[in-house]
Amino acid sequence: MNCEQIAELIPDYLQGSLSNDQRGLVEGHLPVCEQCREEVALWQKLALLPEEQPGPALRARFKAMLDAYQEGRWEHRQLAHERRNLFSGFLSGGWLRVPATGLAWAILLLLVGFIAGRAVNTPSSSDQQMAKLQSDLTDMRRLVTLSLLQQQSASERLQAIAQATAWSMTEQHADPKVLAALLHTLRADKSVDVRLAAVDALARYHNQPEVRKGVIDALETQQSPLVQVALIDLMVEWKDKSAVQRLKKFEQDPTVNREVRERAQWGIQQLT
């Protein structure tokens, strides 16, 4: 392979996503090519640039924005924010420098402000507002949970599950998207701790058929004895008789850890 072909592999090499063979090709090329070697070295040196801390004022300003939102002053503030943006946009755009256009815009702005002010001050029905805020809250919860479940660090994924559990206590209905994400975590997360937390979080959804099925199916794909035991305990806790057949099969599987098989046997006794 020539330098150009190797160079195409370098971005993937830097993110560690090459196959062993391809990585070997790049590493064989680096000692003989100064340009490619330096590029890789610079990428590594970039890690030396320090992370900067924002000043304390940033948190204070964020908190002020949240306070405004929580006290219901958000709509007014939002409007002010937009007016300010609009206005500074006009200033830099030179709109007001032409007198006739300036006057026209001033009148229009006044009208917009007047109409918007009326709209904000007219109380819509309290029920409607409440319903909108409730749906806002559900969306926001989903956004936070799903974003944290995608994090690299196991502790952040654990935090996501803890939050999903806490929020689910106040919800009447489970969010299907969050449940699907939790089931996916149970099946595919690489950390045992996170998978165990997912089992706990799913425990209260025994009335959801897809959760019951997901939990029983997970038993066969789990490699960790700890998670397997937690799943068996959960089936017993749910008194889920449909799990007996699977547990029997599991109990007779010689490749399964001995203690887990004993647990499965105990589970079968409890359920029959």
Binding site: E39, P50, G55, L58, L66, M140
Partner: protein, 182 residues
């Protein structure tokens, strides 16, 4: 009703704790200006609160957030470019415990990074410092993954050239004004 609002606030707080540092560093490495960077982080959280319903669950959150961040930055400089001029803070913090040679190298690298054209600098910052995968960057920039890889490679080539230019060396009084934030 206030309970519901405090729920939304609590969740935005979680996002703030998690992302204020990466976002600040994203803007700071692009603009080399602390005040501008803090303003922009604040603007991003304002927009997350305002546009939270436009987030589609199941899509990568970070790509959505950085899209907001990029737009906020573009809007910021579109508005302020003619009026405001500022001096970039070009010296990175000295890392205690590092040798003088290492510190000098870090400064040269920082200068080289600041001199890069916006587009190349951004792709390097996103992939190297913000830890975005090429797929996420492709989604963010609206291009193919292979295009992102080519951009990363070209950016590194340019960084290497700038790193070796004599004016990148410390103490040569480089004029960086005007090269940044345009």
């Amino acid at each position: 009703m206030s309970q519901v609002r405090s729920g939304v606030g609590e969740m935005l707080g979680v996002l703030f704790d998690r992302y204020q540092m990466p976002l600040f560093n994203f803007f700071y490495k692009l603009t080399a200006n602390r005040t501008t960077s803090e303003d922009l982080v604040q603007e991003v959280f304002y927009r997350i609160l305002k546009y939270r319903q436009s987030y589609r669950p199941g899509t990568p959150f970070r790509a959505w957030m950085y899209k907001i961040a990029r737009n906020a930055r573009v809007d910021h400089f579109r508005k302020r470019r003619p009026e405001v001029s500022w001096e970039p803070e070009i010296e990175p913090a000295v890392i205690p415990g590092d040798s003088a040679q290492q510190n000098q190298e870090t400064q040269m690298l920082y200068r080289a990074l600041l001199q890069m054209p916006e587009e190349k600098k951004e792709v390097l910052i996103l992939s190297r410092f913000q830890g975005l995968k090429y797929e996420e960057i492709a989604q963010l920039l609206g291009c193919e993954v292979n295009t992102v890889k080519t951009k990363v490679h070209r950016a590194l080539q340019e960084l290497r050239e700038l790193f070796h230019r004599p004016e990148t060396r410390p103490g040569t009084g480089t004029k960086l004004e005007g090269m940044i934030g345009s």
